[in-house]
């Protein structure tokens, strides 16, 4: 693989960029691999990458029904943070965030991680107490956060309306090393690195069946023929239920639409990511200048990648209250993605009832930020059968009632 650098770009410029090679190869599937990963989104590609990098497992195929990074990896609002409350969540998201710090250099692909800071506004006394709790938990978890006062919020975000009137800003949970990254680049960077390690990233390859013998997985059927494997990782976000059914088990998952929108680009006016959970909206400004906005999810099962417009209305309304200056900006584009929701809204990274078949799913609305950490942990789980990052996220936890519930900060009003 040719390394990317300013010198490489200059060298190529001399010949009008006609010498660049493919970022990833386009191989035909082999008959057998040590590991097959179904799904070439961020999580699947990262899993493959760390299987190779950390465990030397390189005879790996990543099968993708459509185009790599074409699911939720390329449809989210790109927020990266790890200010979670519960230990297992904080562990995997902080591992992820710390990997993002060096990911551009690690992959030799600029994924533009921008640790500009993430703040979560506290707009009720109850939220204040919730975020104070999170700040205490984070301190013990090794996650750098602190609770900041309204004047500091205003200093960091001059465009915010601190006084309400409906919900005054009472403070915020501030994670200075949270931020954003270029979502597509994360998938592309991992794909290029996997390909460079000799792994096969195979696009337009749809899995139609999971083959098993004696309770163990032995391969998959695809639209490009049968492929054997020793181990199988299912990492397909919105279609996890369909794949699980092929593998003969059920998942505690429902798929719903989550929507986002961007404004037309304007000159930089907001340097941090702001999440306002009381009014259900969050906003950041991309490096292109667009205000990137996300809100709530539909409450019903939906596979259309289109959501209902009233969610957009509610989100925009909430954000105009929070940032009044956006009123005369214009919405350029809205879109939807299908997200997997588990019973406790936390992901599943788990062994399955089918031996040597593993599943990584249920990231809900928070998958992008977790990509490197999820890949790191899931690779360890697949390679060694256990991983401290994943073990609490077992798909069997629902039976025991051992939930990882992050909605607790929201709680209920009294």
């Amino acid at each position: 693989m040719k390394r990317y650098s300013v010198f490489a770009v200059a060298r190529e410029a001399a010949r009008y960029h006609t010498g660049w090679e493919r970022a990833w190869k386009s191989p035909e599937p082999k008959k057998k691999y040590d590991v097959i990963i179904i799904g070439a989104g961020g999580h699947g590609l990262a899993t493959a990458y760390y299987l190779g990098k950390n465990f030397g497992i390189r005879n790996v195929a990543i099968l993708e029904k459509g185009w790599l990074g074409g699911g939720n990896t390329g449809r989210n609002t790109t927020i990266i943070r790890s200010n979670y409350l519960q230990d297992p969540s904080a562990a995997i998201y902080e591992k992820s965030r710390s990997l993002y710090e060096d990911l551009s250099q690690d992959l030799n692909y600029n994924i533009m991680f921008s640790p500009r800071g993430v703040m979560m506004l506290a707009q009720t006394e109850h939220e204040v107490r919730g975020y104070l709790r999170t700040a205490h938990a984070n301190a013990l978890q090794g996650v750098e956060t602190r609770f900041i006062k309204p004047d500091e919020v205003k200093k960091l975000v001059p465009i915010i309306n601190i006084d309400g009137p409906r919900y005054p800003v009472l403070g915020a949970l501030w994670q200075p090393r949270g931020g954003t990254a270029r979502h597509d680049a994360v998938a592309w960077g991992y794909a290029r690195a996997c390909s460079d390690m000799g792994m096969d990233v195979i696009q337009k390859c749809e899995v139609t069946g999971v083959r098993q013998e004696g309770g163990r997985v032995v391969g998959v059927d695809t639209n490009r023929g049968a492929i054997d494997c020793d181990k199988l990782g299912i990492v397909v976000a919105g279609h996890s239920g369909v794949l699980a059914e092929m593998a003969g088990f059920r998942l505690p998952i429902e798929s719903v639409a989550l929507q986002a929108l961007v404004s037309e680009p304007i000159k930089p006016c907001m340097d941090v990511v702001v999440m306002a959970n009381t009014v259900h909206g969050y906003m950041s400004q991309s490096d292109k200048g667009e205000m990137v906005i996300g809100g709530g999810a539909d409450g019903y099962n939906n596979y259309t990648q289109r959501g209902s417009f009233h969610h957009i209305e509610e989100t925009v309304r909430a954000l105009i209250e929070t940032f009044p200056m956006i009123s005369r900006l214009k919405m350029l584009r809205q879109w939807g993605g299908i997200v997997d929701m588990t019973g406790d809204r936390s992901p599943i990274l788990s062994k399955t009832p089918l031996e040597n078949c593993f599943i990584n799913c249920g990231w809900g609305t928070g998958g992008f930020k977790a990509i490197p950490g999820s890949g790191w942990g899931f690779a360890e789980l697949m390679a060694k059968g256990s991983s401290p990052l994943c073990d609490e996220f077992s798909m069997f936890r629902f039976r025991e009632g051992k939930f990882i519930d992050e909605s607790v900060a929201a709680g209920v009003a009294h």
């Binding site: 279609h239 239920g241 369909v242 059920r250 998942l251 505690p252 998952i253 429902e254 798929s255 539909d298 409450g299 019903y300 099962n301 939906n302 596979y303 259309t304 209902s308 417009f309 009233h310 588990t342 019973g343 629902f398 039976r399």
Partner: protein, 109 residues
Amino acid sequence: MLILECPYCGLHADETELAPGGEAHLKRFGPGSSDDDFEGYLFMRENPKGVHFERWRHANGCGKWFHAARDTNTLEVFGTYSAQTTEPPQDIKDKISARRPGWTWREFA
């Protein structure tokens, strides 16, 4: 933006009047049931890409819960019906079979 007909008040209710309530026709398992049954009842929800039966409440209307048969992939609505039943009425099943040949009740379970 769904519209569902509330079978109680007869209104074609906009989605903003409705509150979704998840999978319909759940069989409740209480004390004495196995871990398997209880987990299945509470968490293993149907999530088909296609015909789905679900509960809705006409929350900003008459307040009644009702059931809808809907395709999660096309959002086609085959019909709505009373919540006071353990399985879809025959006319709804017939309609689904007509629109989705080969479909049978609970085939996806």
